[in-house]
């Protein structure tokens, strides 16, 4: 379902994220309850990710058991984790090397 992703739709925020990338990550973990459509919607709404990127992240969570949804300063990653908890998603913060 990602086969028609045109290059020009690659989210500009990816570049922003790369610039501010720090040593910490927000990780979202798979759970058997949250709907795939809901998780995708949350990634779009909260992080402002494109539909394609949000969908790819949701699939990564679903198939790999977890996915890194943001990288940067620790305080910012903790704010993201709090926001994910508000949505009922299971999120943690970790050092990027672990």
């Amino acid at each position: 379902m990602m086969s028609t992703l045109p290059l020009e739709h690659v989210d500009e925020r990816l570049d922003e994220a790369a610039e501010i990338a720090g040593p910490w990550q927000t990780v979202v973990w798979n759970d058997p309850v949250n709907l795939m459509s809901y998780v995708t919607h949350v990634f779009r709404e909260y992080f402002g990710y494109s539909r394609e990127r949000a969908h790819a992240l949701m699939l990564a969570v679903h198939h790999d058991g977890h996915a890194v949804v943001a990288e940067g300063a620790r305080e910012q990653m903790e704010l993201h984790a709090q926001a994910m908890h508000d949505y009922g998603l299971w999120a943690t913060v970790r050092a990027a090397t672990s």
């Binding site: 309850v33 459509s37 984790a81 009922g88 299971w90 943690t92």
Partner: protein, 157 residues
């Protein structure tokens, strides 16, 4: 993503309001360590660092639970308008149209998702195919259906 219009039967609104009342009561005597359903709503933010997880919880848990209550109350308020309008219209069998703004939509989504998490914990759902004959599974699936419809309505723009 500005908001969403949804249709809701009065009986659905009544059931949602009942579930939300129970949910608010649950949050009120919150012992997040003793109740796995509540624990799921405020998970550890650090997997391998208990001290950091404790500190994060100390700083954020009360606020998070407070936002849960505020969301649930906001949803209950919009449900109350369904009940009154259904009475005015004299029909309980037709869906009532409800316009949710962005803030209300957010409150609905987060509360529907939280209600499912609580029910899943009570039902012991550990994987996606975990269903048995407990009638609460019907409620669980229905909440998922309502959430799915809301997400679709919000994603339409």
């Amino acid at each position: 993503m500005s908001g969403a219009a949804i249709g809701l039967l009065p009986i659905e609104a009544a059931q949602l309001a009942e579930l939300i009342t129970q949910f608010i009561e649950l949050l009120a005597d919150a012992d997040t360590r003793a109740d796995p359903a509540l624990a799921r709503l405020v998970p550890d933010a650090y997997r391998d660092d208990p001290a950091a997880a404790r500190e994060f919880r100390r700083l954020t848990e009360a606020d998070l639970l407070g936002r849960r209550v505020a969301d649930a109350q906001a949803m209950r308020e919009s449900l109350a308008s369904v009940a009154s309008r259904a009475t005015d219209a004299g029909s309980s069998r037709r869906p009532v149209r409800l316009e949710l703004d962005a803030a209300q939509s957010g409150a609905w989504m987060r509360t529907l998702a939280a209600l499912r998490l609580v029910l899943a914990s009570r039902l012991g759902i550990d994987d996606e195919d975990d269903h048995d004959d407990d009638p609460r599974f019907g409620v669980y699936d229905w909440l998922g259906y309502r959430l799915e419809l809301l997400v679709q309505a919000l994603d339409r723009d």
